[in-house]
Symmetry: C2
Subunit: 468 residues, 2 copies
């Protein structure tokens, strides 16, 4: 029979009579934390106390707590007990906001992370060794806020070739990630009377957070099958777009919308920020070139190595209109820089052709994964629809009628699977049919079919019925 217990006045339902008591307790705790009913920082009862309250073995509760600590929902500190973890704002993680900050579900299909097990460690070390052997001594000193010239030159060539970006090394500024890049841009956007910045109505929660923290107001645009509805823009100071592959909904920004965006920027003086987070990964055709090429004076191209290599490297780059270079550098002077060894290693990796080779291999691997996902869902879960272009590291899977995202989240949880939920990316966008965001790039290769099987199971199986 279900047991109800309260932590600080919060009722939680735990199916203590079922055969999966520990799993049920874990799921109940996760849900309560996810929804905010157990707030960050709250000290949970000791395992001894909770076990007594619920009539369970203490080990069961201790193990459940341990699992939630490992997943990052709870934190255990010497002398201050076990508390609900502080939830990290979603930054650039492309992970479902309801997921634990540093959770490692046994099978992780949350969007945002590439297959980390495929990081080319040997090639990276070799590139670092080569760059260290030819290092000018001064390179290890305090450096140019634009970042190393070697990397800016290598990127100018690479971006021109691979993404059609019109880049001059002098107009490139290296930064420590998308977050720093966007924050720097927000700090230099032209000041207007009512300074708002356009965002896509479904986007990473980090975008409105970074914009708000800069004292600007996020202004959501509708998104349809052609991408963001640019015509909605008025006098915003800028707009942040994901033109190559809208995250999370999936369309590519149509040519007419691209033209409309650059026309708007030229007319209004607003800046278009092109977040090209996965532009190298297009599976059904040659990648569409970056918007930046249409109007380098009005579009900032922002790219990173987070999806092509690994988020942990913290390597990103801004290709700036001439007029923004000095303001961004001035803002950057109080923001600190990216490590030079990493910069030089990437420069060497690009120059040696290693970067291109790695991306080609990953493109093939991720394309195969997407194909497998579509085939499995098409044959086993015909009620769902996989939408969005054949690109990138994620796909939107619209749920069958009557099924909620939350329910799928619980079913997935029960199977040790984590997925993204569309609602967590809603930033003022219009209603959308319930859907999950599947990051098919995340699992290591050996775990992918297991993850896929669990996804199919979660989408097709009813939840465990409550014990009679």
């Amino acid at each position: 029979m279900p047991g109800t217990w309260a932590i600080s006045g919060v009722d939680l339902h735990v199916d203590v009579g079922s055969t999966r008591v520990r799993g049920s307790l874990e799921a109940a705790l996760r849900e309560a934390i996810r929804s905010g009913r157990l707030p960050e920082g709250l000290r949970v009862p000791s395992s001894r106390q909770l076990a007594a309250d619920l009539g369970l073995a203490r080990n069961t509760v201790a193990d459940a707590y341990g699992q939630l600590v490992a997943e990052g929902w709870l934190v255990a500190r010497q002398g201050s007990g076990t508390r609900v973890a502080r939830r990290v704002p979603q930054r650039d993680t492309r992970e479902a906001a309801a997921s634990a900050p540093f959770a490692r579900a046994r099978y992780d299909l949350r969007p945002g992370t590439p297959d980390l097990s495929s990081f080319p460690a040997s090639a990276w070390i070799a590139a670092m060794r080569r760059s260290l052997s030819t290092l000018p001594v001064e390179a290890l000193g305090y450096g140019d806020p634009r970042g190393r010239a070697e990397l800016r030159e290598a990127l100018a060539g690479y971006l021109g070739r691979a993404r059609g970006v019109r880049a001059d090394p002098a107009g490139i500024v290296i930064c420590s990630g998308f977050t720093q890049g966007l924050a720097l841009l927000c700090s230099v956007l032209p000041a207007r009377a009512a300074s708002s910045v356009g965002i896509e109505g479904y986007c990473l929660p980090a975008f409105p957070e970074i914009i708000s923290r800069a004292g600007l107001r996020p202004f959501p645009l509708p998104v349809d099958e052609q991408g963001a509805v640019i015509e909605t823009l008025t006098d915003q100071a800028g707009v942040v777009l994901t033109p190559a592959h809208q995250f999370p909904l999936g369309p590519s920004l149509a040519p007419s919308r691209r033209s409309a965006a650059v026309d708007w920027a030229a007319d209004s003086g607003g800046i278009v920020v092109e977040d090209d987070y996965d532009g190298e990964f297009r599976y059904d055709r040659h990648p569409v070139g970056a918007m930046q090429a249409l109007a380098p004076d009005h579009v900032v191209y922002l790219g990173t190595a987070s999806k092509t290599l690994a988020p942990g490297l913290r390597l990103a780059w801004l290709v700036l209109p001439d007029a923004l270079v000095e303001p961004v550098l001035t803002a950057k002077a109080c923001a600190d820089y990216t490590g030079v060894l990493e910069q030089l290693t990437l420069a060497e990796f690009i120059t040696s052709g290693g970067y291109d080779r790695h991306i080609r291999a990953r493109r093939l691997a991720y394309r195969r994964r997407r194909d497998m996902l579509v085939r499995a869902l098409t044959s086993d879960v015909p009620d769902v629809a996989v939408t969005g272009i054949a690109a990138g590291l994620h796909a939107l899977v619209t749920l069958p009628g009557g099924v909620s995202e939350e329910e799928i989240g619980v079913r997935a949880d029960q199977r040790g699977l984590a997925v993204g939920r569309l609602a967590q990316y809603r930033a003022g966008g219009d209603d959308h049919a319930p859907a999950i965001v599947v990051g098919y790039a995340a699992p290591p290769a050996h775990a992918y079919s297991g993850a896929g099987a669990r996804l199919v199971a979660a989408l097709t199986t009813a939840p465990h019925p409550p014990p009679s």
Copy 2:
């Protein structure tokens, strides 16, 4: 005879009749830029035009421009001529503010940089290879804003052992440099009606810049032979100190002042920020332990690898009072993180003993350099006084009566030598006798005696007399 010419109404004196026309032109340009009379961004005349104005060979002017471009005073861009370079705010460079942003004087005795040629590249690569081979896959993903646990644990041990810091890994936050660390702290200091932050009256220009940029007011304290005069503090939100070795004046913060600072913090709620930039390097006695140990709840310990390893690594750490951890992490979430490979490599380097061995070797080398400097000045330039404790990577050299810092700067320049000038570090401090700040750690080993010889020459030789 001296020639006077004007750029945009700015008069410059150039000794065009001397045998060192090019050097004289270069010196005049540097001085005009340094003093701000030729402002940032100004387009200088073409070499052809200036040569015609001065009656010089065009090559002479072109070569002078070329040298100033190489030193970073001027920037040459295709299609937009040659302009005065944007001056980078001094951040954490410990270099004379009048020096070019990225200048590489042939002999560089400016403070702030360790001997970059002694960076332990092989040991670093080996440590990185080891850490990559045992890397948990998730380490390459989006991470914990506190930084890698491996590094926080290694630092807790190292700092406890080497600096007497009372550190719990959970209270350590890794950041990308001193600048980011101080900026994060400023953003979370308790808000007060008139929020000011104490600084030492002579300090790095970056300190007041970072504080001001955070919307707080820098409040300079006098500095005497016992260090900062703590009794001057009233209701500041915090105070930034360099207790182990005051930069740039050189005393160690006396025990009574340390007690006064922690008493002030406990009474007022203000935060003491201990910048322990060179605490491992003490030559006349065992290093004095960090102030943080006196009051971990009121003192933030801020350290970096910039002087022990290299500034280019961008590795720094905050040891925080419990109450500041969450606020700093929240502020950090929109500020981006440090690359994980660098963090793991440093953790491995510390754990393997390599960090300690490297620091021991550098301590010995820098101690020898300081001894050589003191001997040379004592014997050859008895009019000067080398002051400050026998520690760190710099020493203050007080000039003989009647000689200005600017004159020594020019004499040094003429000999291809760069030094720091005390005036550039004045942040509201009391008058001090003219002095130069000598960064004896900066030159590579083979260049040190040459640098020293030029320093002695600059301090003893009169400037070139003007041609009759």
